[in-house]
């Protein structure tokens, strides 16, 4: 039972991390129709910039947490203004390939500057202690800090989108860009702003995930497609959907990794007999399969199932 609570907390941490990435991506997608393949690259840039600021320049973790996302956001806005906007006119496929190439490029540039190896970007000392224990497992203060930051961001985002004037314009621009433009608002500017904020959010995720999950050139690639899964499952353009899907996927992967459920039990329940020489059996892979082995691919199964049976996603209003 102890382990169950620990897993709830760990899944929450990972889910909220995913949410910081997917919230930005889902806003960008619903506004511009761009599936931004480079979104996770901004997450990586966030981690590396924070490493550079906090560790190499020695300015401390908080400086990284504040400055790195701003740089990432500015970089994101610049890329929207001078890259994406230009490609936008050619249509969706070139746009997508642009972000694809950008992801490749960012990874190579990161390697060029910081090298191939994992960089020693670590939790700040003042958060690197066990806050409390559940059973024998200790919960680090840093994990709780991650939860608080993500909650704060979600609250802030929700407030801006629903309660402020700029949020209204963004929401309106989502559905009726032409009308909003006719009312005198600068829609391209809004797009650029949303892209910048979205990438800055990814940057924040990178800053706080870097110490926990490792800061290395492959970090964008390992997280890249799972973010897509999240926004598709949640429903494109839906902030609440992104939150629900992020938490769902966080818990699915955590619990799948935590419980050694063996598929043998299913086969035995079906009345099959375990072969004596397992390595000669045609079904040996099924007999030896355990849940942790397939845990990380469960989100993809979920996505395909959602797309086939409910293309608008969990909470989306329109089809993907």
């Amino acid at each position: 039972m102890d382990l169950f609570f620990v897993n709830i907390i760990d899944g929450l941490v990972f889910g909220l991390l995913l949410f910081m990435l997917s919230s930005g991506l889902t806003l960008i997608f619903s506004m511009m129709g761009v599936l931004n393949f480079a979104h996770a690259s901004f997450y990586m840039l966030g981690a590396y910039f924070a490493y550079q600021i906090s560790t190499v320049l020695g300015l401390g973790f908080l400086a990284g947490l504040i400055v790195a996302p701003i740089i990432v956001g500015i970089a994101g806005a610049g890329i929207e203004r001078y890259g994406l906007r230009r490609v936008h006119q050619y249509g969706h496929v070139p746009e997508l390939i642009f972000t694809f190439g950008l992801a490749l490029l960012v990874q190579e540039v990161v390697k060029l500057f910081w090298g191939q190896n994992q960089v020693p970007y670590a939790e700040p000392a003042w958060l690197d202690f066990a806050l409390f224990n559940i059973g024998e497992n200790s919960i680090e203060a840093y994990k709780v800090f991650m939860i608080l930051i993500s909650m704060l961001i979600f609250g802030g985002l929700l407030y801006i989108l629903t309660k402020t004037r700029i949020g209204m314009i963004i929401q309106a621009a989502l559905s009726y860009p032409k009308t909003v433009e006719a009312l005198g608002h600068n829609v391209p500017m809004v797009f650029m702003g949303v892209f910048g904020v979205g990438t800055a959010l990814a940057g924040v995720a990178g800053v706080i995930a870097g110490p926990a999950l490792g800061t290395f050139p492959g970090m964008a690639f390992t997280l890249g497609s799972i973010v897509f899964v999240t926004i598709v499952v949640g429903g494109l353009g839906s902030l609440w959907g992104a939150l629900a899907a992020s938490l769902l996927i966080g818990w699915i992967t955590t619990f799948a990794a935590a419980y050694n459920f063996e598929f043998k039990t299913i086969l035995l329940a079906l009345g099959m007999e375990e072969p004596a020489l397992i390595w000669d059996s045609k079904l040996r892979d099924l007999w030896t399969l355990t849940l942790p082995q397939i845990g990380p691919i469960l989100p993809y199964v979920l996505m395909v199932a959602i797309l086939v049976f409910r293309p608008q996603g969990l909470m989306g209003k329109r089809e993907a």
């Binding site: 102890d2 382990l3 620990v6 897993n7 760990d10 899944g11 941490v13 990972f14 390697k111 090298g115 191939q116 190896n117 994992q118 960089v119 020693p120 670590a122 066990a130 224990n133 059973g135 024998e136 497992n137 200790s138 680090e140 926990a212 999950l213 490792g214 290395f216 050139p217 492959g218 690639f221 390992t222 997280l223 799972i226 992967t253 955590t254 619990f255 990794a257 935590a258 050694n260 355990t290 942790p292 082995q293 397939i294 845990g295 990380p296 691919i297």
Partner: protein
Amino acid sequence: MRKSIKLGVSAALAVAITATAGFAENIKIAFIDPLSGPFATTGTNGLAEWTFAADELVNKQGGVLGGTNFEVVAFDNKMSGKESLVQLQVAIDQGIRFIAQGNSSGIAGAITEAVNKHNRRNPDDRVLFINYSAVDPALTNDNCNFWHFRFDANADIKMDALTDVMAQDDGIEKVYLIGQDYSFGKAVAAAAVRDLGNKRPDVEIVGNELHPIGKVKDFTPYARKIVASGANAVITGNWGSDMVGLGKAIIDSGFDGPIYTYYAASNGITRTFGADGKGTIRLVAEGAINPPASDRAAAYVEAFEAKYPDHDISQARIANAVEMLAKAIDEAGSADDVVKIAYALEGMEHDSIWGGKLYMRPQDHQMIQNVHIQQHTDDGVTFPLDNSEYGLVVESTVEMAAMDSPTTCKMDKP
């Protein structure tokens, strides 16, 4: 710029072939490993070690066959099996007779198979495969062939040595096995279960699981399970970011027993573990640089660190491979007759620069050598890794590990 553009394709293809040709007098060794992409660090580090060993241990000692030098030619296989096979052919077309590769047993399997096919189909320009790092036991068992020589201790031998040492430790009662879901990870787990069962039947294996390779974003849930299982030792064959992620998660979750690993050092891993890993991370490997075995070994490492400050001697066996290859060429009296050279290598005994004896077992071409259990620490480290204060120090040594271990290898010898 040279003006040789006849047809776009023709020039480019010609460049591909002639680019590195030109030093016909040297004996060339094709180094086929990842030099770009996510695994490039391991590859470039290996290349530095090969180049340095060839210069220092052969060329500066007067070369082989009375004055011929070794030259290491690099080929980037981009960590892909097919690309390796293409590069292998480019190397053979350049007249190279010695193929060195080590990263990934899957690619080693593809190369050993391709070399075997090539040597069968082209008896006039046969090549030898010097496997300096791929440790899947199958390469010297079911999939062995006459042209393949392994200079690393294979996964079974390392586990044999590791469990010899673990068996002495009465504090170990519960062991957790975790690894990447592929042949090597499975081989480590199977060997651990077998060897612990034989040597310490009282030790309980409280967990034995595999996770997808390179796909796990967050290792925390695995670590929680390990802590909750009450294990007091962990064995893992993980490498790369899977090793760092797993190790960090286990330590962060409050585990303080030993974590026995195969690859938790160098390439940024030592630096990332830093103080957290002290007292927990152990590593089983052949060859050790701390404490230095001799003045010669110390001078060698010093010279290497001076020349390549960003790299480490992390694969000590490369020096062994270079020395033994030179010795075999001298014995055979030819650098072209690879059959003769292979026979010279078979059964060769040699004193390693890292101390201890080396013996290339003739029945399966598996090197038998001392295997060490080393500790990640900053105490008594003469040569740290990753430009940090931390490094590996030998804790215990198993001499000529698994000397008489059985093999299923049946090779056809020409």
